[in-house]
Amino acid sequence: MKHIADSAIEKALAGRATYADARVMDIRYRDISTKNGQVGRCSEGESVGIGIRVIADGAWGFASTDRLTPAGIESCVSEAIAIAKASALAKRHDVVLAPEQPFVDTWQNPFVKDPFRIPIESQIAVLLAADAEMRKVKGVTLAEGSMSFRRIEQLFVSSIGSAIHQVKMQSGAGIVATSFAGDEIQKRSYPNSFGGQHMLRGYELVEEMDLARHAPRIAEECVALHSAEKCPEGTRTIILDSSQLGLQIHESIGHPIELDRVLGMEANFAGMSFLTLDKLNSLRYGSEIVNVVADARLDHGPGLGTFGYDDEGVPAQRTRIITGGLFTGYLTNRETAAAIGQSRSNGTMRTESWNRLPIIRMTNISIMPGDRRFEDLIADTDDGIYMETNRSWSIDDRRYHFQFSTEIGWEIKNGRRTRMLKTPSYSGITTEFWNSCDAICSREYWTLWGTPNCGKGQPMQTMGTGHGAAPARFRNVKVGIASSE
């Protein structure tokens, strides 16, 4: 890898680039799925290539290829420089990058069991065992399971002298029971929707999930939802489980704090952000108990947003995003940090693959635990709804107004969890919602969830992000409007 990347940098500088970086990536994957007792998808694959990013004539160019021969690299570099020079035809000022140190390092996330060394037949057997358990429950019309594994090896080399080798091993799995009856399709997932839980860990993550043990419960809940009462419409206290709160963080904190959105760079597609620059260190984002960080360090946990260095060679960092309810930080890269006068990027440039340009992405955006036991939170709630496991999600293009539905809910009356509710949903305005948070559960209930399917950029890139969350309570929230007549 090293000589390929080095030759790209040499050629770029010889072609009058003033800055160049190159990422050689070797991605290996395994995907398995089952449906109603049969194997659905079973595939393995690899993808190897190089992405070269240059500044020439004061403007950016990027080209990528899978032809890792000297001629292939040379033509890719030439194309990157030609593109940069074309970019300069419509530039307003030269690109300026916040300073960064060169790093020569290697990094790999720890794991116990290499998922690619586990026989595929035993992985299929795990999914089929859970599948059989779900289908034992009368009324389940569809039982599905999936596992996915990624090994991403990459070498980043830049013209400031960095050479960073990283290996990330990622595992994920989940099961879903679906039931069709009357005029309803109900669904329950374990341990989360979006294919379950995903982390930078080995196969031990899948073993810990114990899918077959949880299969009967979600199957029974799925069928029971048909005879549950519909979530009422009105203004209520709600308690969100940690996985739903993780997605709430993703949509209503993670995206609006992306500084490229704030500066208008995503205006045509993903949209902009209500967090204009005047709001930094002045906006009361949430109540005083709301503390949120962006933390890519392994110390935070092996999340999908964990790494040693980002994809422009900046070390993983912890940034305070919301501090005691006050908005205190954006996600930045070297270019946008310089644009708002900050001295250093906080390291959030990430790319899906060798053929995509790194862009600002969430790392692990997590709410810090509070001090409540979950049981006490329920006991302390007179009248509310507990909602669990995301089913649908939507938010406007400046990240003010959101609406979420979950797979299941329970009414809370006089401190006790009572009847099951179907089609639970809630909606609101981001800052009003976070300011209504009055209780967060403690570290014991905190989980670092993985969201493997975050889309952003043109061409679209799918990225995994991490979200640590514990169940939390919110007051005066509008519920039930999603299925109102």
Partner: protein, 471 residues
């Protein structure tokens, strides 16, 4: 346009090295090279049957924001995917390495994966050679587009924005893709297409407008006219006022229709109905939509793109899905057709797949009304440019939620009265398609939530807007 490359070496030799007057980087490999790769794999494979998909892509995208180009990228790559069958079992392995060792390894990996599967009782033998209807979706002008061509077009749009004291953002992309499907029973099918896409947003202090188009032929995309339209939308939507949510007559421009009805596509899959997760489960043959709604899947329609064969090599057929409001037919892969005693329609995914099949070339019947006529005939309603972040709330009632974006207007007494703040909606698409009062001609529409389709503008009564946002 450069001549079609006869070999990888020849293609490489034509790669551009400078922006002034340089040719586009046409990395096409051509049918004979893709066939050569497939045949090499057949020689290496020890499976009972072997299928090879080879796809190659060359694409570039110029991205602009704040009246300048801020991202500008190009991509060249190949993907080789091998499906092996062994004793009634099948699996797939992929690589993007083309040396002999890698091809030998990927063939062996597919076979090894297949051998450890449970036997699949539904697995059918691979197809032999098929007769395909020809389509031509390769435009020389698109293939020849250079980074400088795209940059010059974008520079004009940036200048237009500055002259109007607006801020622009968007993309201009061009690309070539080629794909070959071959199997050890002698099937070989090849398809190539070009694609150009331009999307533009114009922003003012408190408003925005948007327009987008795509085509195989770059000459059919009028970037300046699209920017003009987006700029006018932004100007017209200044100082939006908040009005209460509720049921309104909605005039949906084609991109808004597209992004809603696009959510129906998988419901037409036989596998989806068999799995009882389609909104058409138990509803086939019943009047569900208005008499004015007919939908078919037609890859041969002149406004459509895409290969005329499916993931197993079956020729795609034109299928009438909805006739005068009644869902009549589904699309079938070979496997789902066998299970459901129907004929395959050429819509299957590459195997192995638990999802079966889907129509990707939906065409809606249209009408003759212009958007102006829809406005003139509306006492009180909303004119919608575009929708955003649409998600399914109820899969059987087919209730979707989402937001309006980039130009939402109140229509009163037959004219556009003013701009209004954006709404959230929660609307059943089944009810919507039963409430269409007027339609425009069906056009190729581009949005962000669905693949491009051929749909009309629609005037719909009682569209359910449930909440309002802050802008």
């Amino acid at each position: 346009m450069p001549a079609k490359a006869k070999s990888r070496k020849a293609a490489r030799a034509r790669v551009s090295s400078g922006h002034k007057g340089s040719a586009a980087a046409d990395h096409r490999l051509g049918a004979s090279e893709l066939r050569r790769i497939a045949e090499k794999i057949f020689r290496f494979s020890e499976a009972d049957e072997t299928e090879v998909d080879v796809s190659a892509v060359t694409s570039a995208l110029t991205r602009f924001a704040n009246n300048t180009i801020h991202q500008n990228v190009a991509e060249q790559g190949i993907s080789i995917s091998v499906r092996a069958v062994a004793d009634g079992r099948t699996a797939r392995a992929s690589t993007n390495r083309t040396d002999d060792d890698s091809l030998r390894r990927v063939a062996a990996a597919a076979l090894e994966l297949a051998q450890v599967q449970p036997r699949n009782p539904d697995l059918l033998p691979m197809l032999g050679p098929q007769k395909l209807k020809k389509v031509n979706r390769f435009a020389a002008k698109t293939a020849a587009a250079t980074p400088a061509d795209r940059a010059r077009a974008v520079a004009k749009i940036c200048k237009m924005a500055e002259e109007k004291k607006q801020t622009t953002a968007g993309i201009f992309s061009t690309g070539i893709s080629e794909f070959a499907l071959a199997n050890s029973r002698g099937l070989f099918e090849y398809y190539e297409e070009t694609r150009a896409e331009f999307s533009v947003t114009m922003l003012e202090k408190d408003s925005s407008g948007w327009a987008k188009a795509s085509s195989a032929n770059i000459n059919e995309i009028d970037c300046e006219a699209l920017a003009e339209r987006a700029g006018q939308k932004a100007a017209d939507s200044r100082e939006p006022r908040e009005i209460p949510p509720g049921h309104y007559t909605a005039i949906l421009e084609p991109p808004a229709v597209l992004d809603l009805v696009g959510f129906l596509f998988y419901d037409f899959a036989a596998t989806c109905v068999r799995d009882q997760r389609s909104c058409f489960t138990g509803r086939m043959g019943r009047k569900l939509f208005g008499e004015n709604i007919s939908i078919w899947d037609d890859v041969y329609h002149p406004l459509q793109l895409g290969a005329p064969f499916d993931g197993e090599g079956m020729p795609r057929q034109r299928v009438i899905l909805v006739e005068k409001g009644v869902p009549r037919n589904l699309v079938y892969s070979r496997s789902s057709a066998a299970k459901m005693k129907a004929a395959p329609t050429g819509h299957g995914f590459s195997l192995p797949s638990e999802d079966g099949e889907a129509p990707f070339n939906l065409v809606f019947s249209g009408g003759k009304a212009s958007t102006e006529e829809m406005i003139r005939s509306t006492e009180r309603g909303l004119l919608i440019t575009r929708l955003w972040y649409i998600r399914e709330v109820d899969p059987y009632k087919k209730i979707l939620t989402g937001m309006t974006r980039d130009g939402t207007f109140l229509v009163e007494n037959g004219r556009v009265a003013r701009a209004v703040r954006n709404f959230r909606f929660n609307q059943s698409i089944i009810e919507m398609l039963a409430s269409v009062e007027m339609m425009g001609p069906a056009v190729r529409a581009s949005g962000e939530e669905s693949f491009d389709m051929v749909v009309p503008a629609m005037k719909v009564r009682d569209f359910h807007f449930t909440e309002v946002t802050k802008f």
